[in-house]
């Protein structure tokens, strides 16, 4: 688990598929995201400001209009694991 006073995320490896991927679960909401090797590599190379933009709470999560793309994309990946 990677946790601070601000967030708690459980981190594990998932190998139910044909290749290994990273499973991240936001323990406060139950939302889950999987990241494969190429996605992880892309994150490693992403510029610093990209991460900073993700930290804006209005960016994807607490939005006024639509619920944000991240939850939907997670459901596509693995409906059984999506947040409740």
């Amino acid at each position: 688990m990677v946790a601070s006073e601000f967030a708690a995320v459980s981190v594990s490896l998932d190998s139910r598929g044909n290749g290994t991927r990273l499973r991240l679960e936001d323990l406060r909401s139950g939302a889950v995201r999987y990241l494969d090797a190429l996605e992880l590599e892309s994150i490693v190379w992403a510029p610093e400001h990209w991460v900073r933009e993700l930290l804006d709470p209005s960016r994807h999560r607490w939005r006024d209009a639509d619920p944000g793309p991240s939850v939907e994309s997670m459901r596509e990946t693995d409906p059984g694991d999506a947040g409740t």
Binding site: E5, F6, V51, L55, P57, S58, R59, R61, W62
Partner: protein, 422 residues
């Protein structure tokens, strides 16, 4: 009461060369003025870089009653931020320490970088979109943060003397301390004891380099531990009390340690107990210099207004009210000296740990003193000890014998320059 209750000139009439008025320790209006003119103006010690070694480390600290967060950003820069959300003022950080590039307020989710910059807020249409970031505030930051040899100080005033100007000769004492590490670094990683006393903060500042009390107040610990330190605080001793300027002062016991001529004699630790340390010191500085550093010992210096380095332990003073002060205490650890460090922790547990005798002895005196000065007569505290035998040393500093009140007189002189700058 407000600060307006203290008329200009009032303070000067309460501080004489050989006495101070009791109200300086008990008047809430004077305390309020001290917060503004001393604690929120001058350089105040906040923390040490060894407490935030990695990028994005942070630790909660204080500047008097102000809560601050000392952070290291991703690029290594150090920031001192007020623990107050820019939205509606909630406390942002709660943990004593952690590692995070950003902080999210628990009340409505405003999110700040560890530099203080506002990164965003939930449901931003209520502010007209993300662009509102540009007009909304980030976390308040201390306008000036500087460090010396890993010791981080902050000033809440945008302008004023530099840290080096503020430290003056006290910087040499930090050098003296840091030199006792074979790699020239101290680490404040042994953990902290928080000890609160019902006394005015200046009682503590004055006591730190008062060489008159140890033979009375600390006689039991000196006799139990067989320490020779008590005897050094006497008129026969060649030790001196030195005013270093800027309100800083020290008890310099090194003349006695040099007379003794034993490496680590000042610490009461025989060389046979710390062979790795003494070898590392001689390897790092050369045999002669290494021995000289180990003979000379560690400083006993009060860096005004809140950092007290007492040979092997370090105290940070934090006033909370006119009659409430917290001492944060830790055992000093020297990088590259594991065998010495283990002994230092053990020694500090005995002297200033939760059941430590040194701390308990002094705390008892602070609290008695605070109650005592609230009595009506006589109105003044005497400060005249050794005034007739004060001298100037070869470096131009005012010195007195080991038991003289030279350091207190100098502290009050500096106090007036801050409190009544006219």
């Amino acid at each position: 009461m407000t600060t307006a209750d203290v008329a200009p000139g009032d303070l000067r009439s309460r501080v004489g060369t050989d006495r101070v008025h009791g109200s300086l320790y008990t008047d809430p209006a004077i305390y309020a003025l001290e917060l503004e003119r001393i604690w929120y103006t001058t350089w105040v010690y906040v923390g040490h870089t060894s407490e935030i070694p990695q990028p994005n480390d942070y630790v909660r600290k204080d500047i008097g009653p102000q809560q601050v967060v000392m952070t290291r950003d991703k690029a290594g820069g150090i920031h001192v931020l007020h623990n107050r959300c820019a939205h509606r003022g909630n406390l942002v950080c709660d943990a004593e320490q952690g590692n995070s590039s950003s902080f999210r307020c628990p009340y409505h989710g405003w999110t700040f970088a560890n530099t203080g910059e506002l990164l965003g807020f939930p449901f931003n249409q209520g502010y007209g979109g993300a662009r509102a970031r540009e007009r909304l505030s980030g976390l308040g930051a201390a306008p000036r943060v500087e460090s010396y040899r890993g010791f981080v100080f902050a000033s809440l005033a945008a302008e004023g003397p530099t840290l080096r100007e503020h430290l003056g000769a006290a910087a040499d004492r930090i050098d003296q301390l840091v030199r006792l590490s074979p790699v020239g670094e101290v680490e404040l990683t042994a953990g902290w004891v928080r000890h609160e006393v019902t006394a005015n903060w200046k009682m503590l500042v004055e006591n730190e380099t008062d060489g008159y009390h140890p033979q009375f107040v600390h006689s039991s610990i000196f006799s139990i531990s067989g320490s020779g330190i008590g005897a050094l605080y006497s008129d026969k001793s060649t030790a001196v009390t030195r005013a270093l300027g800027g309100g800083h002062s020290e008890n310099d016991l090194s003349p006695e340690f040099r007379r003794l001529g034993v490496p680590m004699g000042w610490a009461g630790t025989p060389e046979s107990k710390i062979p790795e340390y003494t070898a590392a010191m001689r390897a790092a500085y050369g045999a002669e210099n290494g021995d000289e550093i180990m003979i000379n010992g560690s400083p006993h210096v009060m860096i005004f207004p809140n950092l007290f380095i007492a040979e092997i332990q370090l105290f940070v003073l934090q006033p909370l009210a006119v009659d409430r002060t917290v001492q944060h205490v830790t055992a000093i650890q020297f990088a590259g000296a594991p065998d010495l460090n283990r002994r230092l922790v053990t020694q500090c547990v005995g002297s200033v740990g939760p059941a430590g005798m040194l701390l308990a002895d002094d705390a008892e005196m602070y609290e008695r003193n605070q109650r005592g000065v609230a009595q009506r007569r006589p109105e003044w505290l005497d400060l005249s000890r050794g005034l007739h035998r004060e001298r100037t040393d070869e470096h131009g500093f005012t010195i007195g014998t080991a038991t003289d009140e030279t350091s207190m007189r100098a502290m009050w002189e500096h106090y007036l320059t801050l409190m009544d700058p006219s």
